[in-house]
Symmetry: C2
Subunit: 143 residues, 2 copies
């Protein structure tokens, strides 16, 4: 599936900017921030505005075509993989790693928990990631 199809599938009218941003999310599983998306695309789309990146990512999230990760208190991260999975945030290098979802497999939508209508499930781990742990052992700095 390409970016165009993905957008229309989620009821989003395609445009050059929207396709570029979706394409980026579909090919980079680094959980980028809005700024990282902007920096990656502003060379190929020189007229791109950061406001557009923010607006577009918000649109994707509203349409459930992307996930907004609030795992990092410094920056909001975005994830083009909307399947149910967990995340690990490394407080050393600041990266977000994917992990399989370890909770009960239940549907995110149409779920009531203690009377609250659940729309999203987020499962986060925080700590020091494998790369940073190994780098520390060797007295080296990762990054």
């Amino acid at each position: 599936m390409n970016a165009y199809e993905r957008l229309t599938e989620y009821g989003i009218k395609p445009s050059v900017q929207r396709m570029a941003i979706m394409e980026y999310l579909m090919t980079h599983f680094t959980h980028p921030t809005a700024d990282e998306v902007y920096m990656a695309l502003c060379d190929t789309i020189p007229t791109l505005s950061k406001t557009t990146v923010y607006n577009t990512l918000k649109l994707f999230v509203d349409q459930q075509a992307a996930l907004m990760l609030t795992i990092d208190e410094k920056n909001v991260h975005f994830d083009g993989d909307t399947s149910l999975h967990s995340h690990f945030f490394c407080r050393r290098c600041g990266r977000v790693h994917d992990l399989p979802y370890s909770g009960k497999k239940r549907e995110a939508r149409e779920l009531l928990i203690e009377g609250h209508a659940v729309e999203e499930i987020h499962h986060y781990y925080k700590g020091i990631c494998k790369d940073c742990s190994e780098a520390e052992k060797e007295n080296k700095n990762f990054n």
Copy 2:
């Protein structure tokens, strides 16, 4: 247990400000933001600085005497209840509700997942809370 004991237990040297902030966390389970803590205390401690509130909450989190919740992209929330439990963030009213932890009960500390050293486990739900759902049914606004 009072605030003084709690602080010393977590290796934090007590002070008037620290005890007031810890006392607030121990008696209010509203998951306040730094600003809410400041606003609640600045009447009784008129010289209190917002910087002190930020520094102190960070100290509590570093010493694991409180949890930092990044569930809300607008504000960091704090939780004096460090036991393993889940949270529900209402995108309507912005409040954070407690929920029992539904995942596997495993120790947060000393846990390796795919090579990553886990220090914290966070389980978040997002959606519309019970109060807001009921208020909407009655065509009223909660808040």
